[in-house]
């Protein structure tokens, strides 16, 4: 693509406006002009006419005003401020490096003293007049998503865009801070922040937090089943509708253009790099009775899939890792008693819903959940990508909010350091105890995006910081937040991996928080996190960040077992074929199982992990012809399973793990017997049935020929619906919606 190719853009024809469009527009404008002339400054907004007479769904702006006087006042002043704001455009070029005292900008704003005063006055009033939100804040203290929804509901859309951003962003910081506990330093932060936002009201970064919060609003609505929350949800929906008249009408036009051909995902949406892999094949027990793989607790794939489906398209095949979809959901498996024996497998064998001649071996593991007192001290370093690409909507602002929430979850004794990287890399905050929370939060608040990416240098700095503050008895972890590309510095993936591996062996682990879509480098992130004993999670909404960093904070941060590998040996007398669903990128060689030097996945405190095999029992039609020359007796079989078992065994399950501070692995084993078998899927537990539904969903998304034609999204929905259980956070309900979306996107 050269300049000259693009030069021709300006000469390409543009369709002429339809007959009368120009006249209608100008007429509407002149009417608006006259109305605004007839009023005084303070009420200008109240007389702003509906701008699209042809849009039937649009309500008059007046009705909006009636329900929210403070907002109207805000808008009125904001409208008046538009020209000033626009004029400031060139000067807020430096907005990406906000200084704590943006005094200069403040004084520029003061050119319009009247509106400014009104704004200051109205902001607190606007908050006071939201009782619904307040109650909700108290009841759902753990749920910033809901908290976030409240101010947004009142601050959404109706004003001219430039003006709209102003109030919305002003509120954002307080929303994130959950219930504002009156901490004075925070209040100051917020004031400073809002000053900063005022200075750059029309910049994309300023709108970013509000849109991610809006995503969170969606989650809150979809995921809060209790009546109180629904009530709130309805209120906020209603208000949003009143405030955003016309949107509902416009949305009708959206979905179709974004919908791609089945299976081929919209390519323009996906510059994300995913490692290509093909599905695990069906293996013959006679020739290949042993299956070995590393556990995987990553969940990044689920967030990807959700994002694609919510945008109306199917995700690219390689972005769908079935095991990550399954492991996204919390399951209530049996909990181990003590940290010394961190796992207790729950095994269930059921018929396969997509093939009557197959059975599923469902292996559920729950990691030991550390109690607060047992929690080691955490030495964390946040490594934050602040390159230019992080400026957009769902990136840096989301990361900042996510880290704020994480800081809230930590103990006073834990430390946090912050390293940022863009064209250069720098230490934004030396390791600081959580006791000085306000200092940490103010550094996070000040972060801004700009420059290109030098990921490797940043990683080096972060490790140096973590090493300097190394705590032998504690957890030492770097949390890297990025949208992906490491395009300056050590760009060689192998070199970077080697570096991370060496540090891992010294006891510093790496977790990755992926954000954004467009150039998210899934493959690199995945590889780096795997090599650094960490998890790679993709965060697209504040609610997702909350799940990862608040609800699952301890499992994200505290490892209870490392290098966890699973080996299953199938009994050729009972099973003729098997297939592991998912874990394609995690396969290990058979001999790796007993080799403690081979790295494998780690499990955090309280994590649940599920693996599902599809097996063909002997006697059912196999998918491949049996071997003519091999006899089962000659098949290689180690000792233990040869002894004739009292109950027929499907196979033998073995799990190897290392405790966090040990280098020698421990073995846990148990047979897979008919005693664990359920005659029908209906009699299996909710958790088993739900994870089977997710497995079916993942395989459908991947276009697996093994389920194609035999299983549909409708089946997924029906099974998941029946297995929803208590679903306190609404994750399963959200999944059911996704399955429906997939159905329509696949048409």
């Amino acid at each position: 693509m050269t300049n000259s190719d693009l030069e021709k853009l300006k000469s390409l024809p543009v369709p002429k406006p339809g007959g009368g469009a120009r006249e209608r527009a100008i007429e509407a404008a002149l009417v608006a002009f006259e109305k605004s002339a007839a009023t005084t400054q303070g009420t200008a907004a109240a007389n702003r006419p509906s701008s699209a007479p042809h849009s039937g769904t649009r309500r008059s702006f007046m009705s909006t005003i009636k329900i929210n006087c403070p907002l109207a006042a805000c808008l009125a002043t904001a409208v008046m401020a538009v020209p000033v704001v626009l004029y400031m455009g060139p000067r807020d070029a430096g907005r990406n490096q906000p200084e704590p005292g943006s005094v200069g900008r403040g004084t520029e704003l003061a050119q319009l003293p009247e509106p400014k005063q009104t704004k200051e006055k109205d902001a607190p009033r606007a908050q006071e007049q939201r009782p619904v939100a307040k109650i909700e804040l108290g009841a759902q203290d753990k749920s910033p998503a809901v908290a976030a929804a409240a101010p947004l509901a009142t601050q959404t859309k109706p004003s001219p865009p430039v003006a709209a951003m102003e109030p919305a962003t002003r509120i954002a910081p307080s929303a994130v801070e959950k219930s504002d506990r009156g901490d004075s330093s925070r209040t100051m932060d917020r004031e400073r922040l809002s000053a900063e936002f005022k200075a750059a009201p029309a910049s994309p970064s300023a709108t970013a937090s509000s849109s991610s919060l809006l995503n969170a609003l969606g989650k809150a609505e979809a995921s809060k089943p209790d009546a109180n929350a629904q009530e709130f949800s309805r209120n906020s929906r209603k208000m949003t509708e009143q405030l955003a008249p016309g949107l509902a009408g416009r949305v009708a036009g959206y979905a179709p253009t974004a919908r791609p051909e089945p299976v081929i995902a919209a390519p323009q949406e996906y510059r994300d790099q995913h490692e290509a892999f093909s599905e695990n094949p069906v293996k013959q027990v006679a020739s290949d009775p042993v299956s070995t793989f590393s556990l995987d607790v990553d969940t990044a794939s689920y967030a990807f899939v959700r994002r694609a489906l919510n945008a109306g398209s199917l995700p690219p095949k390689d972005a769908v890792r079935v095991e990550e979809l399954i492991n996204y959901f919390p399951y209530d498996y049996a909990t181990p008693e003590a940290a010394a024996l961190p796992f207790q497998p729950s095994i269930t064998i059921t018929p396969a819903p997509w093939n009557a001649a197959r059975k599923l071996v469902h292996i559920g593991l729950k990691g030991y959940a550390l109690r607060a007192a047992e929690r080691p001290r955490a030495n964390l370093v946040f490594l934050i990508d602040v390159s230019g690409s992080m400026a957009s909507q769902d990136r840096l602002p989301l990361v900042k909010n996510a880290f704020r929430m994480l800081v809230d979850e930590l103990q006073p004794d834990d430390t946090v350091g912050i390293v940022t990287y863009a064209s250069g890399s720098g230490i934004a905050l030396k390791p600081t105890k959580i006791a000085n929370k306000s200092e940490i939060l103010s550094v996070i608040d000040r972060l801004g995006a700009g420059g290109s990416t030098a990921g490797a240098k940043g990683i080096e700095d972060a490790y140096a910081l973590a090493e300097a503050n190394f705590d032998k008895a504690g957890v030492n972890r770097i949390i890297l937040a990025t949208d992906g590309d490491f395009n300056v510095g050590i760009t060689d993936r192998g070199q970077l991996k080697g570096f991370i591996e060496r540090k891992r062996d010294k006891g510093i682990f790496l977790s990755i928080l992926g954000v954004g879509q467009g150039n998210y480098n899934d493959a690199t992130m995945q590889a780096l996190a795997q090599n650094g004993n960490g998890t790679a999670a993709y965060v697209d909404t504040l609610n997702e960040a909350r799940k990862l960093l608040v609800e699952e904070a301890s499992s994200t941060l505290f490892t209870i077992a490392k290098d966890v590998k699973i080996q299953v040996e199938f009994n050729p007398a009972v099973v003729s074929e098997y297939r592991l669903i998912g874990y394609e990128t995690r396969a290990l060689k058979r001999e790796d199982f007993n080799n403690d030097n081979v790295d494998a996945g780690d499990v955090g405190s309280g994590h649940t992990v599920t693996a599902i095999y599809e097996i063909t029992p002997v006697g059912q039609p196999p998918s491949a012809d049996p071997l003519r020359y091999a006899t089962p007796d000659k098949a290689e079989q180690p000792g233990p399973s040869r002894a004739a078992p009292s109950t027929p065994e499907y196979g033998f399950f073995k799990l190897r793990y290392k405790l966090p501070n040990e280098d020698a692995s421990k073995l846990l084993s148990l047979p897979l017997t008919t005693a664990q078998e359920k005659r029908t899927l209906d009699t299996a537990s909710d958790d088993v049935r739900f994870s089977v539904a997710v497995a079916g969903f993942g395989q459908l998304l991947r276009g697996s020929p093994l389920v194609a034609g035999k299983y549909s999204y409708d089946d997924v929905v029906a099974l998941a619906q029946s297995a929803k259980g208590a679903d306190p956070f609404g994750y399963r309900a959200e999944f059911i919606n996704l399955a429906r979306l997939a159905k329509s996107a696949a048409k």
Partner: protein
């Protein structure tokens, strides 16, 4: 008769209706052109253009002539167009159940117009917002990097970077399309 935009804007700011009408007449095509390039659909472009006209009419009273009128107008047009796109995305993310019904109803109401060079514009539209804006200002509207920087609220360097990224992506995309 041919008074400058700024002089007309000053008159309009002082309450002169006719001056505003002249301004809007003069610039409607520019607004519509930008809106069409942004949205790719005539109906959508007309909606955006009308919104822009109304916004101009309301905001012109506070126009103080600190910026060139066209810059000011581009800024309003740009934010209006971008805001509509964002508003769509928002609705989609925050009401999955409603989305379902809409997806089921599926009427292709926002079909992009078929015109010469449509693929190129479609590729530009698929760029991330900032890159898309940079291409539209610099190549579509023939503005300088500096003017684009003013409109986008960033530095010239950032505009150049966005353009560079945009060319890189467009190249990959158009090559992939054959």
């Amino acid at each position: 008769m041919d008074r400058s935009d700024e002089a007309l804007a000053d008159d309009a700011a002082a309450g002169n209706r006719a001056a505003l009408a002249v301004l809007l007449e003069r610039h409607y095509d520019r607004i519509h052109r930008f809106a069409w390039r942004w949205a790719g659909s005539r109906a959508e472009a007309e909606d955006i253009a009308q919104d822009v006209c109304v916004k101009v009419a309301v905001a012109i009273r506070a126009f103080r002539g600190e910026a060139q009128f066209t810059t000011w107008l581009y800024r309003i047009t740009f934010t209006t167009a971008a805001d509509r796109a964002r508003a769509r995305q928002r609705i989609l993310t925050f009401a999955p159940s409603e989305m379902m019904q809409l997806a089921d109803a599926a009427v292709p109401a926002c079909q992009e117009d078929a015109v010469i060079g449509a693929e190129l514009w479609a590729a530009v539209r698929a760029l991330p917002d900032q890159q898309r804006a940079a291409v539209m200002f610099v190549y579509g509207e023939d503005l300088s990097h500096q003017e684009a920087a003013v409109l986008m609220g960033c530095t010239e360097k950032t505009v150049s970077w966005h353009l560079h990224e945009a060319r890189r992506r467009l190249k990959i995309k158009l090559e992939a399309a054959g």
